[in-house]
Amino acid sequence: MLTAIEAKPASRTQRGWSHLDALEAESIFILREIAAECRNVALLFSGGKDSAVVLRLAERAFFPERVPFTLLHVDTEHNFPEVIEFRDRVVRDRGLRLVVRSVGESIRNGRVRLRTPDEPRNPHQSVTLLDAIAEFGFEACIGGARRDEEKARAKERVFSFRDEFGQWDPKNQRPELWSLYNGRVRPGENIRAFPISNWTELDVWQYVRRERIELPSIYFAHEREVVRRGSALVPVTGLTPAREGERVERLSVRFRTVGDITCTAPVASYAGTVDEIVRETERARITERGATRLDDQTNDAAMELRKKEGYF
């Protein structure tokens, strides 16, 4: 990741103003605006590619000052070890402050009750997140959600107001004109801010390539034991064993999104470098969530309902 001032191949002016320049400038403006308007801000950092891009943008926005946000990971405890190792290394190298609050803890202290022990924990992150917001008094939380991911997200503001219950009211969002963001909240209320709202999956990978952003290894093609379940590949892990009668195959795969192990599926791929992933993403025939998220496929409005409960 970026540490020292180093020369880029060509300056912005020489290259012309590309779509990545425009997106980056918008994101930097948003990040600075959050820092200026809100006290005590958390940047949600899971070790996934979108949060790594947001962290890099924050470093560029505040340079030479250290990123003035607390990193927060709402941990489902169903993690890929490579991602947690990456998360901790990034935090250590940059001298940042990371707070981890786990859904497992919320389950153990009774704040979350699972219907079945092996159900995905992603939807339950809302409770843990709201508890962390209350515990630390965060006025704003920054997330790496993008509007191209899902239709409820496509409608959300960059500065998304949440009431004291963390709820999103899609019918009554604050008008958000120009780059004039309204970050005003009362105690207990919260702003969710999305600096890469206008980025697509392809923009993210192009930016990862341009800025040489390091990512966890599972984003790149590797051999892994999987089973086929419906149209998805499911990784065979201790948490997600093969079911009776399923045939375990060893395939070259990569993850397009990284989340809770029990609901994140890889795609078959030989793309082992960022260049190859950019090319593959340009030709992709399935959306990111469609290919890789087992939890959103159940219901057309799953995300909207979760957001109304306080989800990101």
Partner: protein
């Protein structure tokens, strides 16, 4: 200023789609995405399934833009949905805005950042009050270019005659509003004619398809980078977004700033250029200094231009805080407490003119009161209605504001950043209105 190289023409174009309910906006967007290969296999599968559920035999592209539960219940669009697609020429961001009058605030939210407005009209219905209203709002938020897509050409008997009639009618109206460019295109979103491909049915039309227009229209960034007539460059405007102080432990590791002190001003250049050694005036105080360093995470720059996010260091310590404006001394705006503006009221609660509100302009937030309401604009007739005593939701009015502290503002038509503001109600924290600074700004 630098010339616009072909590569710089590419980049990113933002456009807003608007029109009356049932003009076929959702189908048009679905068509654009579908024919430009902006849809992926699982989205098409979901679309086919949704169409089947409704008992349709063909795929209904309009279902693609259905978003929220309430919208699907009511079959209307409530809030802006943003959509993304790219062609080899460009990346596009669509702000798909609602048609109902009660959601005007959401339409202008989408329109405020757009480079182009695509306004739909049903060829059978012709211009509707809502068409005029949206055209007016598009101009009010400063969109320079307007496309009227005359849709449902497949449903009118004499298509060419219908198109020419609507075109003439709209051109008169829209030119009067002051768009830099008004362009009419006949389309059939349902069949795909003149959207991405030309189709067969509208052979009499020899102009650009909608996508061709969108791929070649200049962006706001292109306009900013271009010199004004007469070769004058645009005046420097740099709203100070954040004062950054690095001392002791808060430098990024290995940044080269771990020792000693650094004080700079972070922000995005709203217009013009900043070059090393240039003199600036900090407004509203009026103190002067020179630019000693232009810093980005990639290193130091000799100059920076519009839209770039940078950190400026000055050669002398002057008192500057967030919300101040750096400008070139010879082209600096005046700082004023009396602002002449056009305001659009959004909130369900009407204006209480005797109460103070907050206004946020650039990076400044100040208290202000509505000193007078000159007149309301009847958007349908463009007539002025004198002496309103309050403003209701969707009203647009000329007003005079008196601010608690002086603000450095420009007329909106010359600067979309320093000439725009939102109004916040301190009691609710809601954004209750938005405004643009008028020509007689410096009162």
């Amino acid at each position: 200023m630098r010339a616009i190289a072909p590569a710089a023409r590419a980049g990113l174009l933002r456009f807003v789609t608007a029109g009356s309910v049932d003009d076929g906006k959702s189908t048009l967007i679905g068509r654009l995405l579908f024919d430009s290969k902006g849809l992926q296999a699982d989205q098409i599968t979901a679309l086919e399934a949704a169409s089947r559920r409704r008992g349709l035999t063909e795929v209904d592209l309009s279902l693609l833009t259905d978003g929220l539960l309430a919208e699907r219940e009511q079959g209307i669009t409530i809030d802006v949905a943003y959509r993304y697609f790219a062609t080899p020429a460009r990346k596009f961001i669509i702000g798909d805005s609602p048609g109902h009058a009660q959601y005007t605030r959401n339409m202008v939210t989408a329109a405020s950042t757009a480079d182009v407005a695509v306004l739909l009209v049903d060829a059978r219905q012709g211009l509707q009050p809502q068409t005029r209203r949206h055209a007016y709002l598009a101009r009010w938020v400063g969109i320079p270019r307007m496309v009227l897509a005359v849709n449902k050409m497949d449903l009118v008997v004499d298509a060419r005659e219908a198109f020419e009639r609507i075109r003439a009618q709209f051109h008169r109206f829209a030119t009067g509003l002051g768009f830099a460019e008004v362009h009419e295109i006949p389309v059939s979103a349902l069949r795909g004619d003149m959207v991405v491909s030309r189709g067969e049915a509208l052979g009499w039309y020899d102009g650009l398809t909608l996508l061709e227009y969108l791929e070649t229209a200049p962006t706001r960034h292109d306009d900013l980078a271009r010199s004004r007539p007469g070769g004058q460059s645009r005046p420097l405007r740099f709203p100070v977004q954040r004062v950054v102080r690095v001392a002791g432990g808060n430098a990024q590791p290995d940044s080269g700033f771990e020792y000693g002190e650094f004080r700079g001003y972070q922000g995005t250049i709203a217009s013009g250029e900043a070059a090393l050694g240039d003199e600036i005036v900090a407004l509203p105080a009026g103190t002067r200094a020179r630019i000693a360093q232009i810093l980005t995470a990639d290193g130091e720059l000799a100059h920076a231009s519009a839209d770039m996010a940078v950190t400026l260091r000055l050669d002398t310590q002057i008192d500057v805080s967030r919300g101040d404006l750096f400008a070139a001394p010879e082209t600096a705006p005046e700082a004023t407490q009396d602002i002449d503006a056009e305001v659009c009221w959004f909130d369900a609660e009407p204006l209480v003119a005797s109460r103070p509100y907050l206004i946020k302009q650039g990076c400044a937030t100040v208290r202000a009161r509505f000193a007078s309401l000159a007149h309301r604009i009847d958007v349908d007739s463009l007539r002025l209605v004198d002496g309103p005593d309050t403003l209701h939701m969707n009203d647009i009015a000329h007003v005079q504001l008196r601010t608690q502290r002086p603000l450095a503002v420009d007329p909106y038509e010359s600067n979309r950043v320093t000439g725009a503001f939102i109004v916040i109600d301190e009691a609710t924290n809601r954004t209750v209105a938005a405004g643009t600074v008028g020509r007689g700004a410096q009162g």
